[in-house]
Amino acid sequence: MTIANPNDFNEPLQPSGWLRYFSFSLDHKVIGIQYLVCGFIFYLIGGALAGVIRVELASPISDFVSRDTYNEVLTLHGTIMIFLWIVPVVNGGFGNYLIPFYVGARDMAFPRLNAVAFWMIPPAGMLLISSYFLAGAAAQSGWTAYPPLSLTTPAAGQVVWILSVLLLGGSSIFGAINFIATVLKLRRPGLKLMQLPMYCWAMLGTSILAVLSTPVLAGTLILLSFDIIAHTGFFNPTLGGNVVVYQHLFWFYSHPAVYIMVLPAFGLVSEILPVHARKPLFGYVTMVYSIMAIVFLGLIVWAHHMFTSGTPPWMRLFFTIATSFIAVPTGIKFFNWLATLWGGRIAINSAMLFACAFILNFVFGGITGVALAQVPFDIHVHDTYFVVGHFHYIVYGGTVFVIFSSLYHWYPKFTGRLLNEDLGRLHFLLTFIGFNLCFLPQHWLGLNGMPRRVAEYDPAFTTLNQISSVGALLMAISTLPLLINVVVTAFKGEIAGDNPWNALTPEWLTSSPPPVENWPGEAPLVKEPYGYGHTEPALAQEATP
């Protein structure tokens, strides 16, 4: 068979050295790093915007920026952090780097599609940010773009926002197709599904969600753009349209999007905990079924975001029950992580600190999530800072903590050098204190009725808001030790060796950084990626081919 070969590695188009990170490289490791670095740049931009929000909210009146500017800033902050930082980094970044190793492949199933998916992101991000400088200003309707608000705010910025999100959604779908095909079809001969590292299952579940739900958002945004550009009335009540339909379609994507952001983090933390606790991952099979249960339930709970949108009682009942059920598989995972740590020989390093803090933050965010699923409580705190606090405990306390943990864990694999532990612990301490100081008071603010998305508030809320702003300042400072660490270590850090953690997953069974086709010889067949404990001392020696 002479099939045109999409994986033709013999073609001499790959530049070497640092230039390859700016090229249309087909190497999954280069693409992974591209996602990570690009995402981190957007994290800094989104963080600066968050800083503007917290400075504005340090006083009850609108003094630092105008109200319109505040709306633009919060819209850009939400969109950038979700679509340009968390989703690309935790899926595209670590996924592209690790998944081919985990399935024993030389690259992803569709390397060109992979590169295309990445290179859709920088233009989309620049488009989004440039909309700030448009005449009539950037989108002001929040990351949800609810009509009729999104139909009455300046049109040009909103249309550019839609275009940008469509590009990012397309990128996410292409990436998801690649992950599904790689995990299901590119496994090394002899490797069974139930022997895969947990991150593969997390990425499979995430990608199924992305394939099923992202297109619905794309279709919805196309209809919204028709409403703005062609003055149709899909979501415009004055023309006979229906705003609640937009909310249903939007949340059909955007609730699964929470799992698209957090399931990969579950997978990553399931890789990190066994290595640094020197114990097998507890309850592998229940972990797998929990992920798939979350995928299924995640698709049928969207209307719990809409309890105040005139939803009928049967709908409220169904979505409350379905949402509460998600606590079951999530709880199973949570206890599995605790049981993995239990009795382990725990190394308290930066990766482990962030991973353990993730468990703590996530269980808190999870409990407020179950509370929010209950209709009477939700109606009380809907659209208040309680929701903001809950959400940030999930995506920052959950996913971003795992991203940092993963950075300390895999940086030696990326570069061959260990990140500095002292700076790492300083980074952790500042992040952990800053994060809790910033978002914990928001729960009280919300319970007492401070609405979200406003530049001005009742002066009675001033003290808690100022505490929150101090926390945000600490989080801003916390990026300094991280940046210094990552940049300086790349040139002067301690040499890590191929496998500094004596880990058993396949990415460590090659050199650091790995060669272009991942292994010099055949890919190793790792049937027991978490076999810590029983044959421990011999492992590290035999593990290196």
């Binding site: 099939i3 070969n5 079809k185 394939v211 619905v216 006979g240 076999g531």
Partner: protein
């Protein structure tokens, strides 16, 4: 904070293999790593099928929106959901026949009769173009425009999005037909392009049947 040295051998092993004292299972097998030969036909069709699931979800979103609009948003007085049925029915028949002609083209190609395959591809492409022409005639004969009412907007959005898919399909058919001609890009042994276009065409066809039922017959 270091606890007792870990010794899991005495406990049931929670790892998936279930063998508490299994020897270290890192080995290299003699099986070839088939990452760049042969198997890719399957993977590419699998990738395309996954993409079509995603594409189908876009339509599913549109259909759900349309049905909800229809259930809860009454049209303004004087408007109704009635549509002229003759032309769209002919169009439906055309599209269904084109699925069979495409299937025939694939069969001829696999039997190494590339000339016959090309003829059937040309017929399929012509039927696709006829469908698009019929759609155009229908658009120009309709009594309502895009912004007339909610049903009109939904009608044009749905049929337009589907028409976009048909247009893309006709372009793909033209490319595949040219590829049977030159350079051996589509041959009896190597016909991924043709099979991919065929799967896509059947998908577009099925979507139309659902769309026809929902928009015209309901």
């Amino acid at each position: 904070m270091t606890t007792s040295p870990v010794q899991t051998a005495s406990e049931p092993n929670p790892s998936p293999s279930g063998q508490a004292n299994a020897p270290l299972s890192i080995e290299t097998s003699e099986l070839p790593l088939d990452h760049s030969h042969g198997a890719h036909l399957d993977v590419r069709m699998f990738g395309l099928a996954t993409f079509l699931v995603a594409d189908g979800m876009t339509f599913a979103g549109f259909f759900a929106a349309y049905l909800t609009f229809r259930a809860v948003n009454p049209l303004p007085p004087g408007s109704n959901y009635e549509l002229e049925l003759i032309l769209p029915t002919i169009n439906t028949v055309i599209l269904i026949i084109s699925s069979f002609t495409f299937h025939r083209a694939g069969k001829e190609c696999r039997a190494d009769r590339l000339g016959a395959s090309r003829v059937w591809l040309a017929i399929t492409g012509a039927l696709g173009a006829a469908f698009l022409a019929g759609q155009m005639v229908e658009y120009f004969s309709l009594p309502f425009g895009l912004t007339e009412n909610l049903f009109a907007s939904t009608f044009y959005a749905l049929t337009g999005f589907h028409g976009l898919h048909v247009t893309l399909g006709v372009i793909c058919i033209a490319i595949v037909a040219l590829q049977t001609h030159r350079g051996g890009q589509v041959t009896a042994a190597n016909h991924f392009g043709l099979e991919a276009a065929e799967l896509y065409w059947h998908f577009v066809d099925v979507i139309w049947v659902v769309l026809f039922g929902l928009l015209y017959l309901l």
